[in-house]
Symmetry: C2
Subunit: 344 residues, 2 copies
DNA sequence: TTGAAAGCGATACCAT
DNA sequence: ATGGTATCGCTTTCAA
């Protein structure tokens, strides 16, 4: 790989001049400029970004830490960050946290080692204290999908509690009175918040959720199948289910249909996240849209603003996002007869 | 951010010594080692990876270029690369090509600027010549999902032609005689190769594909729906469809069922790729598994071996991958009566 | 075992 | 308009 010195020597100028040309510097005669550019092209010279970063003390990479890349949800998150970095001519340095606190921390350390000062991290494993300490060390650190009160101005998060309430209201509005819920056994706060929002709204309407109609399983297609089986096995009637996420919802629907129930004719099902899957499933899933890509873009812009000490638009209220109900085919008005059949 | 000098000054030693400690150097008394480590911890010192790369001329990042992050297929690819980089304590530098030759090239240039010498790139837009030129400049460049003869030893690819043949054999073995095909209008070679393999095998069996039963559309759910409509509109009977990818297959199934055909009872459908979707759709999709993650891992290992001038395991034959038939629920033995109904 | 100093590739200040 | 050179943070001989 040729260096600035090579270019300078061959072009018969100093490295300073080459540097000026490479950076569109202010004072270079168009003649030498042309000459240098020609040599640069001939040599296939590309400035060494690392050396540049060293002397300018500015880094053009932005770091992302997510649990894993394979999950479409996180891929969308990364995609949002990528779009903004591209706009700012910065590059993505991506590390995965692999679902353990240790490797999450290690991923961040690696980014720090690269002197990456803008970072968007999705952490479910690190403690609040660790996150707070980290954000003090790293000016441009923004937390996504999690709310930590002490550093609220650095958190872009979704109101899961409100999401639960929205789901409840939707089902209630359709006339459902016998409700069930499928939740996840993993993750930190999200399942609990969603469930709490759901029950909270139900209680407010005087239609409490039967404890026995809460099934808990892994947040996957299989988990949804298992949970639905358990719900059915309880022998209790229900005409609608609020499910932790779309994958589980699709699994649940599968089990319900295998057992002779039609969705939504007999039982309504509402998911959460609005991932690609939900548009491909049949019936198409009614769900709550999690605007992860929008949030990721916002997080990235915020992180960028933080390192540039820019006036961070002070509408901190907008750091919180509310999921949006996406009505598709898996929910419908309560069919009383069907509910009675359930009682058989 | 504290530097090696800070540590040296405070610990009362030279930077050379600190460097030795940081790199587990050979000759340091355990006493000074301890002392230095203590200071490093206190200062929260992390060596600057860029400076290190500058002097050692070794980079610990590996670059990936994919069209976009949002597509689950490419996310799996990135995931494979990430796993191997993690194993080698290297970090992912990710750029997206955004489906244009220009930005694909730009993405690669950025990687080169970072002196990233190991890279896995998925390019559909760059010409063979450009790829060849690139691979000469960049020792550790490996092409994935594409075969370029002149640099065959740097290509990890899937035999799409063979995939088409496998699909044909499967359908033929189920007794289907009236076949249809849905292909994609975009992408460079893949659709054509798959279709050619398919027709090739059919011709060999004396059951040629009716030209009018080839529908072409965008490689998406909607595209699949449109294509299936066109197939139906042709008025020609068919009992099985080979579809370009899983998303289109699911769209096609949707249209077929809306028109009163049952899958697979009346019409069998086979997809391609075996993405997550195919396991979630109902009926679960029979498809051809594209082992993209395995391929990505292999590509990464190969790229790594290339820069280390290692003996690249000379079984170049294994650079080619064959898709594997995954028999699920969307294909079944040909139901003659149903086919006749089609003729109505 | 430890330190001094050269040098990696670039920028930017100070001269000229 | 151009060149000389100190400097960024680190590794790596070479001496001591």
């Amino acid at each position: 790989m040729s260096t600035i010195k090579d270019v300078a020597r061959i072009a018969g100028v100093s490295v300073a001049t080459v540097s000026r040309v490479a950076n569109n510097g202010p004072k270079v005669s168009s003649k030498t400029k042309e000459k240098v550019q020609k040599i640069m092209a001939e040599l296939g010279y590309t400035p060494n970004a690392n050396a540049r970063a060293l002397v300018t003390q500015k880094n053009t990479t932005i770091g992302v830490v997510i649990p894993e890349l394979n999950d479409p949800f996180f891929a969308s998150l990364a995609n949002g960050v990528e779009q903004i970095s591209r706009q700012h001519n910065m590059q993505l340095l991506l590390s995965t946290g692999q679902l353990s606190a240790e490797s999450e921390m290690q991923a961040i350390d690696l980014l720090v080692g690269r002197r990456c000062d803008v970072m968007v991290i999705h952490s479910k494993k690190l403690s609040d204290e660790q996150l707070i300490a980290l954000s003090q060390r790293i000016k441009g650190l923004v937390i996504i999908d999690r709310y930590v009160a002490a550093i609220a101005e650095r958190c872009i998060w979704l109101d899961n509690f409100e999401g639960g309430k929205i789901a409840a209201r939707h089902l209630l509005a359709l006339g459902h009175k016998n409700l069930a819920c499928i939740t996840s056994k993993y993750q930190i706060d999200d399942p609990e918040l969603r469930l709490n929002g759901f029950t909270n709204e139900l209680n407010a309407s005087g239609i409490p959720l039967d404890e026995q109609l809460i099934a808990c399983a892994e947040p996957s297609l299989q988990g949804g199948e298992v949970a639905a089986q358990n719900l059915l096995a309880s022998g209790k009637p229900f005409s609608a289910i609020f499910v932790y996420n779309d994958a589980m919802a699709i699994g649940a629907i599968s089990t319900l249909e295998d057992n002779g129930y039609r969705v939504p004719a007999d039982i309504s099902v509402i998911g959460f996240d609005d991932v690609l899957l939900s548009r491909y499933s049949r019936p198409k899933l009614t769900t709550l849209n999690y605007p992860i890509e929008v949030m990721a873009k916002q997080a990235t812009s915020l992180a960028l603003a933080l390192v540039n000490s820019q006036e961070v638009a002070s509408q901190s209220s907008t750091l919180k996002h509310i999921p949006r109900l996406v009505k598709r085919e898996s929910t419908n008005i309560c069919n009383v007869k069907a509910t009675e059949i359930n009682l058989r």
